[in-house]
Symmetry: C2
Subunit: 199 residues, 2 copies
């Protein structure tokens, strides 16, 4: 038995979205499962003195271009959303709440939320949009709305972010495989090479 | 006839070094030449509010690990040098000076300087080390020593850095292909995909 790949992602991260479309096929190549771990980059940026990529002078303009080009080169549906970036507390809490009951369903919800934002332009920064997307995925909306307002779910997300930071996670996407850390959608090829060398 | 690939690199950049070992084979796949353009990241970091990667909290530790792992995964000889990073004005000026007379020889010198620093641990931040490496490459040391002290070579390097910044260059390695910008050794695969789509 091999351990799952820990997949850390922020819902406002375009490269996290790209990774979300391919992480499971990557893992399957090596008979791995994926542990989907929603995080919030805000607290992490404070630790590293970072800022949202597109807000950085010069680099930000390049980033917008690189994001759109990456989507084209990898055939991933993408429309740069407005507003961007957004707060993603509700989306992250929703995934954590559903995960407690059904992790496969939580993964489907995570993919749908990413797609809603980055392919359909729906503002998943709004709780009502998160709930609507969840409803389309067949989830019980009233239960989910109550669930993400629970104190233990709020505490769980904080704990997840703190645990991630304690493991050295500082960006999105961030993958940890057998204790080995990889940052970025552009490290998928490195993960592949690394796992091949371990085999 | 196709235009050359502009290859911007800073001699203190590990990912620039990695790129230097593969840029010519990448270009050759598409019948392209490479225009080697030494730059200095210092002035660029001021423009973007950036800092040397390894100095950034949390991210810096990851970067050192990622650099060493990247070298292993791509079979590139690498020993993390001390001191690091270094000032690379003399190395950059030496390449520009030689380029004025013989661009193929300048390319060989650039590769040797990179290898001396990142594979052999020679401190190419020191002018005498730059000259010694150039001497081993068969270059006339006394002429080169006088050459890199010339005002017009100093002005040329400043001009190159300013021109690069005017084109949006902010990091190393940075490639511009037919007006399209790519930042990072991890974008070689994107350049390949992009050029294939243009064909």
């Amino acid at each position: 038995m091999t351990d799952p790949i820990d997949f850390y992602f922020e819902f406002s991260s375009p490269y996290g979205y790209f990774a979300s479309t391919q992480i499971e096929s990557l893992a399957a190549e090596f008979n791995r499962q994926v542990c989907w771990r929603p995080i919030l980059l805000g607290p992490m940026f404070q630790a590293t003195g970072s800022a949202p990529l597109v807000d950085i002078p010069v680099k930000g303009q390049y980033a917008v271009h690189d994001i759109e080009r990456t989507a084209r080169l990898f055939n991933i549906p993408y429309r740069h959303p407005e507003p961007f970036p957004i707060g993603t507390v509700s989306a992250a809490r929703a995934v954590l709440y559903v995960q407690q009951q059904d992790s496969a369903l939580a993964t489907r919800l995570a993919k749908r939320l990413y797609h809603a934002y980055f392919a359909e332009g729906q503002n998943i920064g709004k709780t009502e949009v998160v709930l609507a997307v969840a409803g389309q995925a067949g989830l019980p909306v009233a239960e989910l709305e109550a669930g993400i307002a629970q104190d233990d779910i709020k505490a769980l997300l904080k704990q997840q972010v703190n645990d991630a930071m304690a493991r050295g996670v500082f960006g999105s996407p961030f993958m940890i495989v057998d204790g080995e850390s990889f940052w970025g959608f552009d490290r998928f090829d490195h993960i592949r090479r690394w796992l091949q060398q371990q085999a």
